[in-house]
Amino acid sequence: MNHFQCKKILHRCRLLIFLSVLTLLLSGCWDRQEINDLAIVLGAGIDITDEGLIDLSVEIVTAQEGQEEEQGGAQTYVESATGQTVVDATSTLQQKLSRQLFWGQMEAIIMSENMAREGVHGSLDFFARQPQTRLRNYIYVTEENPKEVFAATPHLEVSTTKTLAELSEFQAGLNVTTLDFLRALESEGEHGVLPMVETLPQDAGKEEEQTDLMGNRAALFKRDKMIESIDMDITRGVMWLRDEIEGATVTLSPERSEGLISMYMIRSDVNFKPQIQGGTWKILVEAKSEDDIFQNASNLDLKEVDNVKMLEGELATQIEDRMRETLEVVQQDLQLDVFGFGETFRRKYPEKWDEVRDQWDEKFAEVEVDFDIETIIHRPGLSSEPTGLPEGEVEE
């Protein structure tokens, strides 16, 4: 090793020491946050008090190890606070907690109906603006106090929020995330629709302290204000038209026979074809549904192709009836475009859309809707003939 190399190494050593000292000046770890110092929010509920204050309630995980070993999951509890805005309520809430509120794992937002009727965009702004929250959480409206929904102790899941998220993912009811809802609010040709959730009354065979949840109704919005709630049947229709239906069962009573046949839909697809002819705005709803027979309580022999063809036809009629019924309520009575008809017109006829964009709600009510429904029945199941019927009684 010669003198020159020595010097070079020395120079490097000096540089390294210098740089190491410099790092001490850096304020590292500034947003470091240990998991133990977090109050993980699973769900948030927003209500409005009689004085017009925001009542924010949150479902928080209590990570207690002792209980974890027995139950294989965490416990949750509900804490709430009021304030002029959501953030205001948050800061009051924070004062009641020994740990930092953490919104990053939030999976559901529940808004009370009172709150929804007043207008929601102001409150939702907090969740959209806050970098922590995922916009992929589900959002609901409830007629009850959100605290009561959170207080529900479902049988199957550990928390209310978990139940809601699973319900939505299972597509039993509408499945709307905050992001979807905010988009619908911002869109000109579409109105928002949110699923409604309610606690189920006590029933035989259930433990008394446990309550379950159900969410098969829906709340319709005009801009950011809730207008009306619709019942389960109409909600299913809305889901059909929004192409959100999945795993539905349809029961019909075939004409040529006695008894009922239940089918399970395995796949469906709904498309809108907008058309403007002269002054009339038309929309063609193209629906396709693929089904399996799940139960044959009639005396129809499903080996016969004709019988299956007939069933397919009746299924199509049933789907069309369901959609027409829905349109009657939503299009004619409420005049709320929650299906996105406006969007499809805007895409195809941007110039004509510009003319009606301000009066779309009135124009929407005038849109003529036609249906083109294709149904396919794939599998009759293991036994093609009705089970438990003598051969003579089977309709071929």
């Binding site: 020595c6 998991i35 133990n36 995980v61 990053g104």
Partner: protein, 526 residues
């Protein structure tokens, strides 16, 4: 203080230089050439081998009456052969004349190899190699006899690089056995093995093996030059050589591959690499080396190619896991809580509830304990080794979780990381990856994912900037060479490996005939 340190370094540097010069000069003080006078030679030899009980200096009388002298090191040569084939003919043969060494070698010595020596330096070297020297009065030329025999272990399975399918012979300590093992695999006379002696005190034989017309001549020259530059007192293992000839001494990555396997060394020879063998070391050095060759195992080439390719991909995956998993865990837990799926987050939070340390300290603690366990298990006598793993693995792991010092997920992370790092076939590459984990962990604890990215970018920049004997370390990925990726992204079947890697085997591109893909139609084709 630093100044004093450098002065000291300079001083010691000078001292060493003076000493080495002195060591060389010592020999120069003695007469260089052997003298005609046996008495004088004997005195010089006695002076050289002063206080060395293992040196045997045996005077004898040849059958023609001349005085003779035999010098050898006890334990390095076969004394039976000396008795029968050297001393017996010299002392009994009737028509022996000692004034011509050549005739003695030709007519009287019944041993296979004998050479003449003229100087004392030659004499010392021959004696140290186990070759007895005979000198005669009145003759200034000595004779060295190749009857060396010393204790060595047998050729057995390399312990550091085991395979299920593949040859079981590994290099052992004596150079001569190792070169013979190479010759056994590559019988072509194009396999050249040059030797040189390195180390002023140790005079270690170092051999450079290459295949003529396959290896680049500039590479051979470069390797020779680097070896010639070495001026140390001793070479005890090939690791000593490796550190003296590598391109980037401060890099954490090994730039010269070492292998104990003869088949691995041969395959690299056939790809145009240079293999350096060091006497007394079972580890052969292979240069140049790329990052990807550290991820290859000998067995990759003996298994069927689909399996080898899958396993290779698994290795790349484990490489990434071994390097980043603990830091990703720490980053996700201290900065990016929203990244973890909710259910997992809750179960981790529950597990961590009682832990008094921040995640980074916890990870650091466990990783250090793991490294200590590994090191301790490695160095202990074989009988105590299992005890360490019981105490370490079972008791510390289990008890630490129960006592609430570390969380169970952390134990899993550390265990997965440890196992992953062992999936890297080259032990030294695995170690460098494991060591790089610590700075990465520190960065993750300080800056989160940003820190990990900074660290990874640093590592990748470093990897792509270094070279090994002129070959870019990340070749053939960067610079990209699609044809060479056949042995990196996957291991193509033998019948498709028609060309040698471009960067080492350019001068002799084709290694086999093309179109050798077997198929049922070709069954009877001759």
């Amino acid at each position: 203080m630093i100044r004093r340190f450098t002065q000291k370094m300079k001083k010691s540097n000078q001292n060493f230089k003076e000493e080495t010069v002195k060591a060389l000069n010592e020999k120069e003080e003695q007469p260089k050439e052997l003298s005609i006078d046996l008495k004088q030679n004997e005195e010089v030899i006695h002076a050289i081998y002063d206080n060395s009980f293992d040196i045997v200096i045996r005077p004898f009388s040849a059958s023609d009456g001349t005085k003779g002298l035999m010098i050898y090191i006890d334990g390095l040569c076969n004394t039976e052969e000396i008795n029968e084939n050297v001393l017996t003919p010299l002392m009994k043969d009737a028509e022996l004349t000692t004034n011509n060494i050549d005739t003695i070698i030709e007519q009287h010595l019944t041993i296979s190899e004998a050479t003449k020596v003229h100087t004392f330096n030659e004499l010392i070297e021959e004696v140290s190699s186990g070759h007895p020297i005979i000198l005669f009065d009145g003759n200034a030329t000595g004779c060295s006899l190749s009857v060396e025999q010393f204790e060595m272990r047998s050729v057995d399975e390399p312990e550091a690089e085991q395979v299920v399918r593949g040859p079981r012979d590994g290099f052992i300590e004596p150079l001569i056995v190792n070169t013979a093992l190479l010759r056994l695999r590559i019988k072509s006379p194009r396999l050249k093995i040059k030797t040189m002696k390195i180390g002023i005190q140790s005079r270690t034989n170092v051999a450079i093996a290459y295949i003529e017309e396959v290896a680049d001549s500039t590479l051979i020259e470069e390797a020779e030059n680097r070896l010639k530059r070495i001026e140390v007192d001793a070479v005890l293992e090939s690791g000593n050589i490796e550190e003296m000839i590598e391109d980037h001494p401060y890099s954490p990555f090994p730039q010269i591959l070492n292998t104990e396997r003869t088949d691995v060394a041969s395959s690299y020879l056939l790809e145009g690499h240079v293999v350096i063998l060091v006497d007394g070391s079972p580890m052969a050095l292979v240069a140049p080396t790329t990052f990807y060759s550290l991820m290859q195992s000998a067995e990759d080439y003996y298994q069927r190619f689909l399996i080898s390719t899958t396993i290779r991909w698994l290795r790349y995956l484990f490489l990434v896991i071994a390097l980043t998993l603990p830091s990703l865990y720490v980053a996700a837990l201290t900065y990016h809580h929203e990244m973890v799926p909710t259910a997992l987050m809750i179960s981790i939070a529950t597990g961590r509830e009682q832990i008094p340390f921040p995640a980074m300290v916890e990870a650091f603690l466990m990783e250090v304990i793991f490294e200590v366990l590994r090191e301790a298990g490695l160095r202990l006598p074989k009988q105590i080794g299992p005890a360490v793993s019981i105490v370490g693995g079972l008791i510390i792991g289990e008890a630490a979780v129960t006592a609430g010092i570390v969380s169970a997920p952390m134990v899993i992370v550390v265990a997965v990381t440890g196992v992953s790092s062992f999936a890297i076939p080259r032990y030294n590459a695995g170690i460098s990856i494991r060591m790089l984990r610590f700075p990465l962990l520190f960065l993750a604890g300080m800056l989160g994912l940003l820190g990990i990215m900074v660290g990874l970018i640093g590592i990748i920049v470093h990897l792509s900037s270094i070279r090994s004997f002129g070959v870019p370390y990340l070749a053939p990925m960067a610079p990209a060479n699609f044809s060479d990726m056949k042995d990196v992204m996957m291991r193509v079947p033998k019948w498709a490996q028609n060309t040698r890697p471009r960067l080492t085997g350019e001068s002799n591109k084709n290694r086999q005939s093309p179109q050798q893909k077997p198929s049922p139609e070709r069954g009877g084709e001759s």
